[in-house]
């Protein structure tokens, strides 16, 4: 049981956002569709919801072809980035509205509205109007309205995008718990890796109008099959270095060569793309350690993000990012020494960008 998309294509205003896309989502899944903005995530969600029919291909829910079925006749609910509530309705009536349309009894409506409001911590706001609420509260109302009807599929299109980071932190945990209590399939579109990491059971990386990689969340994170997976599902994005392999070394520049033995891979001579996540590049206090490759880097900017520090670095024209799990501020243009953990390097084909070795993930 679940959702299946077969060979789905969709144009919007002359632009093709989805092309020959296949996707199969099983029951109990919290799927995060991860991709940058303007890459077709919203179109995909609208097609799954039935708001727009696909131009080509078929959609099945629980084995039944629903391709031509209108959104009203499907058990779907959707939450958007923009908080959408009826301004002239109270919070209570906003949450109740899908139940009224579906013809529930007022007793049942009352019970469900109160239960859902409690889950979203908005019980005290039921008599208020949307314009009296903060952005975070308004989005809670919109989420409550989506969840109140026990939809088969809940689609969320960057619902936390307009909220500040402390609210996002709280709502991620709540959404994960709310989803766990329900039988619905959740599909959550986002450009933010942290959303997927915090909530999703499965991840689909969308690129070039198709699903580039699909799998269990941790597996997609640890084993990117394509450079774009590493780039999109990593915050900051995975760093990529052009490396030429010969004589047992991967040379990134004249004075920066990584022994293949340290990377624990065997590669034929040639050009590769070496991918490493920012937190596997470490700032050294002094000297070098045996199993790492060290290089000098100039700090373009150090930024505090949460309880971590992101360092924008350059080394002879190569730009890359390191992430330190503490607060470390450096002056602009200060030279520091960093080490790349060679065992955490993912090797990609320099031409087709496909993975060659995820040796890093084996550990």
């Amino acid at each position: 049981m679940g959702i299946e998309l077969r060979n789905v294509s969709k144009f919007n205003e002359g632009v093709q956002y989805v092309e020959d896309l296949d996707l199969s989502v099983e029951d109990g899944t919290f799927l995060a569709v991860v991709a940058p903005t303007w890459t077709g995530k919203t179109t995909l969600l609208r097609v799954i919801a039935g708001i727009q029919p696909p131009d080509k291909g078929k959609i099945f829910v629980d084995g039944e072809d629903v391709t031509g079925v209108h959104v009203r006749n499907r058990k779907v609910a959707m939450v958007y980035q923009q908080f959408i509530n009826y301004p002239s309705f109270t919070v209570y009536e906003n949450i109740a509205s899908p139940l009224r349309v579906a013809g529930y009894s007022s007793k049942e409506i009352d019970k469900r509205v109160h239960d859902t409001a409690e889950q979203l911590k908005i019980s005290e706001l039921l008599k208020r109007y949307p314009q009296e609420l903060s952005g975070g509260q308004q989005q809670r109302v919109a989420i409550a309205r989506a969840l109140v009807k026990e939809a088969r599929i809940v689609l969320l299109d960057e619902p936390l995008g307009n909220l500040d980071y402390k609210l996002r932190e709280d709502l991620r945990i709540e959404l994960k718990n709310l989803a766990a209590e329900r039988e619905a399939i959740f599909i959550y579109a986002t450009p933010e890796p942290i959303d997927a990491l915090a909530m999703a059971s499965h991840v689909a990386i969308m690129h070039d109008r198709q699903i580039l990689q699909y799998g269990e969340m941790q597996d997609v994170y640890l084993r990117p099959t394509h450079m774009k997976s590493g780039e999109y599902f990593s915050d900051p994005p995975m760093n990529f270095f052009n490396g030429h392999v010969s004589d047992g070394y991967a040379a990134i520049s004249d004075d920066f060569k990584i022994p293949l033995s340290a990377m624990e891979v065997d590669l034929p001579e040639g050009n590769y793309m070496l991918g490493i996540r920012p937190h596997h590049i470490e700032v050294l206090e002094n000297g070098s350690t045996e199993d790492t490759v060290n290089l000098n880097a100039v700090v373009e900017l150090s930024e505090i993000v949460g309880s971590d520090t992101t360092l924008h670095l350059s080394h002879r024209g190569l730009e890359f990012i390191a992430l330190s799990r503490s607060l470390e501020l450096f002056a602009l243009d200060e030279t520091i020494r960093v080490s790349l953990n060679p065992r955490q390097i993912h090797v990609f084909d320099a031409q087709n960008q496909q993975i060659i070795s995820n040796a890093a993930a084996a550990r």
């Binding site: 990491l197 915090a198 941790q218 915050d235 505090i304 949460g306 309880s307 924008h312 607060l327």
Partner: protein
């Protein structure tokens, strides 16, 4: 450039309700500083009081020691940069940058020299003849910034969420430019934002505000390592600080099964009213060894951040979070032991920091 002081400043828009209260703050000449807090905390009111758009109902604004309450914005020589870039669309970049100087009758030779200097720093030299209406949002904001700093007789620049409309991938480059400008011209800059990332990255001196009160002013490290109010602990850092209600039994402060002996003069400061204990998730020490010290906890859930694991822990009569390395082999339902290192554990009374804990006693 100038030193700015607020002395006992309070402001109320409606009698009896304070938007900001008892503010005493000093910005030394050439400091890079930020006012940080959630929406409605009073930071924009404070900004207007500094710029002269608003006269405080109580207290004084001093510029270089001189009271300037009655001076209008123009007379204070304070420039402002807003969320949305303000450029003259019909003028090219050169004439945009030159505008504030020509407006004040500077000779054209100085105008040219100054514009070239600023343009070089902002990397706009090649585009000086380009019309402003063809620029991206980021470029327009750069021009706004440049126009803000171009006058040498400026007292200070106030920046009000200046990166809101900038594409996320371009933000760090703008942040770097901003810091470069600040350091090169030694400008007093006050940056107002709700975003801790922006504030901590830009400023050497950050003031955290909530409900009209300035809770703490300090370096990013001060705010992180020694939050002087529970709200600062919550608002700075991700996830925020764990805060527990605590009770006083003779000379011992207790939260759950964590118990601390109050040492020396601290005893006299504690009256037991609204006591709280706070510790950051990254400072909690977790051990999986059975014979290790620390209090026994059950792992309720494990959240991934991509670089670390965040544990939800239940035990010792408390619920709290701890951050561990991504490689830690800890799963839900595991039993672990937790230690709150004394120097990283804070005692709060009436929402003010008394001191870090000095001595732990095991019950």
């Amino acid at each position: 450039m100038a030193k700015i002081e607020l002395v006992n400043v309070s402001h109320s828009y409606t009698p009896g309700e304070y938007a900001v209260r008892d503010i005493n703050l000093i910005w030394d000449d050439a400091v890079s500083s930020a006012l940080l807090g959630p929406s409605g905390c009073g930071k924009t009111t404070l900004l207007k009081i500094i710029s002269g758009l608003l006269q405080p109902t109580e207290g004084d604004v001093l510029l270089n020691g001189q009271r300037v309450n009655e001076l209008r914005p123009k007379e204070r020589n304070i420039a402002q940069v807003f969320q949305f870039p303000v450029v003259y669309e019909t003028l090219n970049i050169f004439n945009n940058l030159a505008f504030p100087l020509r407006n004040r009758g500077y000779p054209e030779s100085i105008v040219k020299e100054r514009v070239r200097e600023i343009a070089e720093l902002l990397e706009l030299t090649d585009q000086l003849k380009v019309n402003a209406n063809s620029l991206s949002a980021a470029e327009k904001q750069l021009v706004s910034l440049g126009r803000g700093v171009i006058r040498e007789d400026l007292s200070a620049i106030l920046l009000d969420e200046p990166l809101t409309v900038i594409d996320p991938h371009q933000k760090w480059q703008l942040r770097r430019k901003l810091k470069q400008l600040q350091q090169r011209f030694e400008i007093t800059m006050i940056y107002v934002t709700h975003d801790q990332h922006e504030a901590l990255t830009f400023a050497d001196q950050v003031t955290v505000m909530d409900t009209g009160i300035a809770l703490q002013t300090g370096s990013p490290q001060d705010l992180h390592n020694r939050p002087e109010a529970p709200f600062v602990g919550y608002f700075i850092g991700s996830p925020g600080m764990n805060i527990f209600p605590a009770s006083l039994n003779e000379n011992q402060v207790q939260a759950g099964d964590f118990c601390y002996e109050l040492v020396s003069d601290l005893v006299n400061q504690v009256n037991g009213q609204d006591l709280k204990i706070g510790i950051r998730p990254e400072f909690v020490e977790i051990s999986q060894a059975k014979d290790s010290t620390g209090l026994e906890c059950i792992v309720d859930a494990v959240h991934l951040t991509g670089t670390s694991k965040i544990l939800d822990l239940v035990g010792a009569g408390l619920k709290f979070k701890a951050r561990v390395d991504e490689t830690a082999n800890i799963n839900a339902a595991d039993t672990v032991r937790a230690i709150f290192p004394t120097e990283k554990t804070m005692i709060y009374q009436n929402d003010r920091l008394l001191a870090p804990v000095q001595q732990e006693i095991l019950l």
